[in-house]
Amino acid sequence: MENLELFEGSLEVEKITNGWYDKYKNSNYGAIITFIGVVRDENKIDGLSFDIYEPILNNWFNSWQEKAKDSRGDVFNHESSYIAAVCSPKRRIALELIDEFVEDFKAQAPIWKYDIINGDRIYAEDRSTAIKGYGLLS
């Protein structure tokens, strides 16, 4: 595992991605692939808000080798809430991994998303995915 970092509010994209580039450019990786998630202006939202449950997030992340940063709290439209990167000597492996990593993050990491509309925090139920093994108590 490299590392997982959590921030309150939006991410400083240039600082984070430049820092990763500076750190890894001399490591002889042929590919550094960065994914930046940006909050879209849609559905009359002012932004998104996130809850995170850290212990299980750490367990989830420990099974991966990548680096990721994620926000908690509120992130407003056109700001970034999520950056992940994969470094690999082979671009094909890096491209496949970033796809799998981002998808798994969205579907399995213990993070809950809320729309911010007029200052209210509304759970994004229709965009959420039940975690594997759900319904054990149903």
Binding site: K106, I111, K113, A130, G135, L137, S138
Partner: protein, 73 residues
């Protein structure tokens, strides 16, 4: 006693219950109006590890977490 916590959007304070397995927890929660509608979609963790079966012996001091559907990033 077992600690039960409700994560994310489930609007309920943590509770302590005297149970020895998850089937007993299910009986308690399905009669709780604040939680019963979440049970179909929640995953369950014991001491921060997700579990996939109910027949696990619980010990006093264990922590159970209910995790509703997620959407990260």
């Amino acid at each position: 006693m077992i600690d039960v916590e409700f994560l994310g959007p489930i609007n309920k304070e943590p509770m302590k219950v005297d149970i020895s397995n998850l089937s007993q927890l299910r009986e308690i929660l399905k009669n709780d109006d604040e939680v019963s509608t979440w049970l179909d979609t929640c995953a369950v963790a014991i001491n921060d590890t997700l579990v996939s079966k109910k027949d696990i012996e619980l010990s006093s001091g264990d922590k159970i977490s209910l995790l509703p559907p997620v959407c990260g990033g």
